[in-house]
């Protein structure tokens, strides 16, 4: 079923190098702003197929709007070790690390990946622009900083078939590329670098390329991937997948301390469930003293997965004479969580997980109520009326397939 209906329109927003393709594939013409870019919300009229592509086939996402910075020079590693909370010293060439970074008060500014491209060359990806912060903190160090955001295009290929597709396209086999590692290869004559990373919690890769090669790479992937079910995928599907994977999103689940305006909006990595990424044995890094103090006294908040209990939820709807009606996309409205009469937390994003058949959400919860199994009440609106329904703190990721980390060889 297709009706010919072509149009062009002007926009003040930035267009990704893939837009020439994505604009024609986007049958819904639903777009969202992402870092000043026009980004597809969903390509089809509903996002279901795209979501299942992530979990059962292969989904292709344009992630060019991510911010990318190249740090290069003799002091690059020393600088990154000062900037981020994880130990970059143990990051080998070809390895990638996910890490948060903080201000001096130990409050999180952003999170992203650090790729070690060579001994003295790294690429940082982040959600928001971080150039000012990176440059300022590199004062006096022997290195260069390049904002590579507009010069490098990026795609995410996520899903169980992603490896097979890349094996079919790339001149090297990816079978031995481990989780959070990186390799350089070519698609025909086109050089690309591929990291085994992603924002879906599934087997998946991110492909980094020069701007001018963007369309060649896109076309090759779609052509070779067709028989594997490759599906251009938008942000709606991604949002559900990342919640299932328990991955936080800046400006949704937390606010950068650089933009938070008030103290109570700021969160430390401990308060975002990223305590594991704070390496205290490392020499001084920005925020270390504050984080040490916080660790010693115990963080005030925790960040947890919440499962909203189905039976009680269903009861609420049944009482109103309805079948349970849940939003079909992920939501991002802050929702109160109670223990008795006291509000002890708030959920920042949530979704019905189509693969798990569970209603899940990510939430900030006061530490003493954040233990696994802790029972809370989740605020719910049923036919305009406010209800409370039980929810339980559970382990994240909600969805964690073995294929995410495993290698066939």
């Amino acid at each position: 079923m297709s009706y010919y209906n072509e149009f062009t329109a002007n926009t003040q927003l930035r267009l990704s190098p893939f837009f020439e393709r994505t604009s024609k594939l986007n049958e819904s013409q639903e777009w969202r702003r992402w870092s000043g870019y026009l980004a597809a919300t969903n390509y089809e009229l509903t996002h279901d197929n795209e979501y299942f592509a992530i979990r059962t086939k292969a989904a292709l996402l344009d992630i060019t709007p991510l911010k990318k910075y190249i740090i290069e020079g003799p002091d690059a590693q020393r600088f990154l070790d000062r900037l981020v909370t994880r130990n970059i010293g143990i990051c080998k060439v070809g390895q990638v690390m996910y890490t948060p970074w903080c201000d001096e008060d130990g409050k999180q500014i952003d999170d992203g990946t650090v790729q070690r491209l060579s001994e003295n060359k790294f690429r940082i990806t982040s959600a928001e622009p971080n150039l000012e912060w990176i440059q300022f903190n590199a004062t006096g160090m022997d290195l260069s900083i390049t904002d590579d955001s507009y010069a490098t295009a990026a795609l995410a290929l996520q899903g169980p078939n992603s490896r097979a597709i890349l094996n079919a396209v790339a001149s090297d086999k990816l079978d031995s590329l481990k989780f959070f590692w990186l390799m350089n290869t070519t698609f025909g004559h086109t050089p690309v670098s591929i990291s085994r990373t992603g924002y879906t919690g599934d087997l998946g890769y991110e492909i980094w390329m020069d701007l001018k090669d963007a369309l060649t790479v896109w076309d090759l992937l779609l052509e070779k991937g067709k028989s594997y079910g490759i599906t251009p995928t938008g942000l709606h599907a991604l949002d559900i997948a990342r919640i299932e994977a328990g991955l936080i999103l800046l400006d949704v689940d937390y606010i950068s301390s650089r933009h938070a305006i008030i103290e109570s909006r700021k969160s430390s990595p401990y308060e975002l469930g990223l305590g594991w990424a704070v390496k205290m044995k490392k020499k001084d890094f920005i925020g270390k003293q504050a984080l040490e103090a916080e660790a010693a006294r115990g963080p005030e908040w925790d960040f947890v997965g919440i499962e909203i209990q189905w039976d009680e939820l269903e009861q609420h709807f049944r009482k109103a004479g309805l079948a349970p009606g849940l939003p079909c996309t992920a939501w991002r409205t802050s929702t109160p969580l109670f223990k008795g009469n006291e509000q002890v937390g708030y959920a920042t994003s949530g979704a019905w997980s189509p693969i798990l058949k569970r209603y899940i959400s990510l939430a900030h919860v006061k530490s003493q109520f954040a233990r696994e199994g802790s029972e809370l009440m989740f605020e719910l609106k049923v036919e305009h009326f406010r209800k409370f329904t039980p929810a339980k703190v559970v382990k994240t990721p909600f969805f964690d397939p073995e294929r995410k980390r495993s290698c066939p060889v």
Binding site: G36, P129, N130, L131, Q135, H259, I261, E263
Partner: protein, 527 residues
Amino acid sequence: MPGVKKYDAIVIGGGHNGLTAAAYLSRAGKKVLVLERRYVLGGAAVTEEIFSGFKFSVCSYVVSLMKPNVMRELMLPKFGLELLPLESTFTPLDNDYLIRTADADETYREIARHCLRDAETYMRFGPLMGQIGMAVRPILETIAPNAIRPSLSDLSKAKKLLDHFKTLSSEQFEYLTKLMTMSSADFLDEWFEFEPLKASMSASGIIGTFMGPRSPGSAYVMLHHYMGDIDGAFRAWGFQRGGTGAVSMAIARSAEHFGAEIMTEAPVEKIIVKNGKAVGVVLENGDEYKSEMVISGLDPKLTFLKMVDESDLPSNFVTDIKNFRIRGSSGKVNLALDGLPNFTCLPGEGHHLRGAISISPSYDHLEQAYDDAKYGDFSQAPYMDIILPSVLDPEMAPPGKHVMSCFVQYAPYDIKGGWNEQKREAFGDAVVNTIARYAPNIKDIILHRQVLTPADLESTFGLTEGNIFHGELTLQQLFAMRPAVKWADYSTPIKNYYQCGSGTHPGGGITGSPGEMAAKKILGIWS
């Protein structure tokens, strides 16, 4: 019949603050008379059809700082207040331009075109200034205390403000201190690199002020202009449909709705003072009006040095008022146009004509303009804040024609040799030539030109020395010192004589604030 009727209060001057005070007093059930010297109400916030078919906000031209509670309490939307957003600030450059709009993505991208780092910083700067604005707000909303002999309520006010400042984060306090004392250029240099961006932002630190962007103290004026952002829901700058005179008319109608009487062409000669008490006024034509209170919306120089005899005032107060600095520094050029200006750097029509056009390509441009004035001449290449009201409100000009409002700095009141016809025209030429540098077609489309020098602003609008703020917004002329220490709470050394103009706390701009707070102070005394 004059001389018979007795009013609770007479307000001298039908400017927006005088009208606001009158409206508040009437609203409280008082019998109020407003006396305006000119044929039209509004003072510096007037709309006049200077050339047939072309309407101008002759003097004050944008509304940014009008207090939302004044709008609500006086029901101004009901009486015609309609503020249209000014969407952008456009800075033409010789071979390029800079435009900042209301959209964060668009502005980020535009600034990033010039300087990536600045684009990022800009996103942090706005919210910070908003926070500082919030921090200052309690001061703006407090009736200034008597710093010489504080009353109990003054002390409790001071305590409240101190407690408030203790709640600020040290970052906020640090930036507040800097904004109170630094030059806007030095302050912005701490944040930004791209000069046209800094120059355009610093320009709000010099408006209405005899200072350059590198003069310490200009950062505060910049903050004063950021206060418009306080309520979040409001864009910093707005244009009143029908011109700023329509704001004054809305307040006047509100006042009348509450029962105030308003007389135009009724110039007041003197306050009648008996036994140290104001008891009424006498007009230039000899008519007398009696009232319990007299409130002056005029600037401090006129309020105290013209409306009353020096002998009725304490001598050190007279000294303070004489020392009150009110140097005029700006002029206004109003143009009736046959079409729209065409900017070389961004030809044609577009967003950029719907906002402010700022002729501020560099600090040097602004500083050189200031240097000219500092040494007693008008700026050969002035700084200008230009808007095209007819683009926002087509009724301001005949179909297809346009009006252009150019706020110009610097034009010193004390120009060497004094202002005359010839100098006024030369000043007008300097303005047009400066615009022509960026929009060469301007000379061909001018149908009429009105040039207002500070001397004209003084003679037409009764602004002493042509100062649009009724006195400079320098640190030593703020809060408890505005207009003079001990008399900063709207009262005066003469009993029953009050002041409510921009020369009182919290200062100039179409805010309605001095009028509102003065009225509240007076009502407090009455109750």
